[in-house]
Amino acid sequence: MKPEFNAQESLKVIDRMIAEARYRPSRAEGTITMLWGYLIMLGALGHWALDVLARWEYAPLAWLILIPGIIGTIATRMKFRTEKRVRTYVHDLTAQVWLAFSVSFVILYLFMQPTAIHFLPVVLLLYGICMWLQGALIRFKPYKYGAICCWAGGAVAFLLTVQDQLLVLALSVILGYILPGHVLAAQTRTEND
């Protein structure tokens, strides 16, 4: 005869299974953050160098470097989607946060000239919001520190010329994207090993 499954055991099963199923960031997420971080940094520095040093009138073309990022993100997401075996509410909410950022960015881009003095500071503030929310959702403090760097960069950028704002953007991205991305990648590597 089967032993009775009692209430205490039920609670233990519930606790154990909820802990098993809790959200854990994947290595892909750290990789995507780093990829975007490096590309935005290169775009900002490229734009600055072509504008200030080379005095090329088409300096904003340096941002074309983001195209591999878009392709890389779509490819990584598609791969992740085909391999994905579980979908959490955190995954969905994180995607919604970045979708909201993308919509806001497109509206800003369409209605505010990208060369306008307040364009990059506002973009940095929006980045800050996304990083903060993502850090809160996945309970990863380095993203929140990154958000603070983006907000600080945004505040400073309001006081600078568009060219100097590009340098602030590059620095904010190093502190706000690239470093947290490396920390997340290292953490997920350690957990997986």
Partner: protein, 93 residues
């Protein structure tokens, strides 16, 4: 006593499945098998029972030409799970 507990949930494997899915949007069969440590046959039977009761939504599809079963908890399942947890708490107190 335990007779008051929902018999459909009050079994170790079915309770495990419900506890996993309560915090997730959806999970596939392999994931549930890995987390519960159950055999394919047993897991399949229990998922079927929970699906028939309307506690789970079970979708069958294909991924890379392989059959794929995806499970998610329904509104009815959430209510049943919450009532089960309340009953367990009452029982322990």
């Amino acid at each position: 006593m335990t007779e008051d507990l929902d018999p459909l949930i009050h079994s170790p494997l079915r309770l495990s499945i419900m506890s996993i899915l309560i915090g997730l949007r959806e999970a596939d069969f392999k994931y549930l098998q890995e987390k519960t440590g159950a055999t394919s046959g047993n897991l399949s039977v229990q998922i079927h029972k929970l699906g028939d009761a309307g506690y789970l939504q079970v979708e069958k599809s294909f991924r890379n030409n392989f059959p794929l079963t995806t499970c998610s908890i329904t509104e009815k399942g959430i209510n049943a799970f919450e009532n089960y947890v309340k009953a367990i708490r009452r029982f322990i107190e």
